[in-house]
Symmetry: C2
Subunit: 219 residues, 2 copies
């Protein structure tokens, strides 16, 4: 039994960035991005269970990287399903924590404070996500038209998202729908309240070449 299990999703197969190498394996500061991400959680608490979801066809490559970079942090590989939903479902079967955190593998700059804000809030909550306020104006669009929205009403959602294990497992017994991109939504549909804590500005999702440059510079 662990206090916390962390599912780090690294299911990307490498299309969007115009490169055959999925972004979780790209080098930042001379190490694959995913190693930075894993390390963030290990540094916060080395006793947490770390699970990493990978596409089956990239598992061998990852294992070679682990040897090549002498990566010592204990973690368990779970092969992903066809979609993020299935990868998480696979990982949940291996989770032994009372609390489960789900984190994007391509967010290597999550801060110690962000992890701590989430974890501390879990003492009294069952679902906690880190968010940031918008710096830009926002418009909503529908059927070709758009209108201004009050940005103070909105928050940008980051990860890690923390859940009571029972609540998350319960949410994942529901059938898969392609609209599921966010675990907080799933849990919410079961009637759980999602509690918001402060994320960190550097905690960007690395999905483009520009993000990679930013990450390289900030790490």
């Amino acid at each position: 039994m662990y206090e916390v299990s962390v599912i780090i999703t690294a299911g990307g197969k490498g299309k969007r960035m115009g490169s055959s190498l999925p972004k979780q394996f790209m080098l930042i500061k001379d190490r694959p991005l995913l190693m930075h991400t894993i390390q963030r959680f290990y540094m916060y608490n080395p006793k947490w269970q770390l699970l990493v979801t990978l596409p089956e066809e990239w598992v061998n490559y990852w294992e070679e990287l682990v040897v090549k970079y002498d990566f010592q942090i204990p973690h368990r590989i779970v092969t992903g399903g066809s979609e993020r939903y299935h990868s998480i479902k696979n990982a949940l079967e291996k989770c032994q924590g009372k609390i489960i955190a789900v984190h994007d593998g391509v967010r290597p700059m999550v801060s110690n404070d962000t992890i701590d804000h989430c974890f501390q809030a879990m003492k009294t909550r069952k679902a906690v996500v880190p968010v940031l306020q918008h710096k830009e104006s926002i418009r909503s669009v529908s059927s070709g038209a758009s209108r201004a929205e009050d940005r103070s009403r909105f928050r940008l959602v980051q990860t890690p998202q923390f859940f009571d294990a029972e609540v998350l497992m319960n949410a994942y017994t529901r059938p898969y729908g392609p609209e599921v991109t966010d675990d907080a939504c799933l849990v919410e549909e079961l009637g759980e309240t999602v509690y918001l804590v402060k994320g960190n500005e550097e905690n960007i999702k690395v999905t483009t070449k520009i993000d990679l440059v930013i990450a390289e510079h900030l790490l």
Copy 2:
């Protein structure tokens, strides 16, 4: 008469970044940030009228920078009022363009393409703003509770925002309200349709120290 007048707003007085120097004057690549911004428009079309709004107490400082950095791009200084709204109102009195663009002085990385998308769209539209899709999940908050929103419905609004001069001037004859942070909203209240074009990802608003590092790296 000019084809286009560009109002570049640089009214920041320097509080948010924990520094006494307003961010538009901070050095990026050995030049004040605002000079990069002005240059972007001059490079796109050197015949456009460029107006820069500055807080009155920083005008002398800017004039010293212009000499120190041998900044040759022609531009007219307009002193700002107490709020952004008043700065723009002052600038509008000097605008001679048939089209007026309003741009944040602290967005030095606006691309040629973004300016071009806006300007080309103005051939058939009266209000055009550049936007980007959200990469992150979004939640809305109200009275302590929050709920997931469909991010595909929302766009992040950038600048430059382009307007038919008559339309914008008309919008600014309305009395000032503190809720006015976006010119597109003002124009929209008069019944104009705001047309959206694609912005560029690098076109961030430099408001924090992290942004400054990113800008330094991307420029």
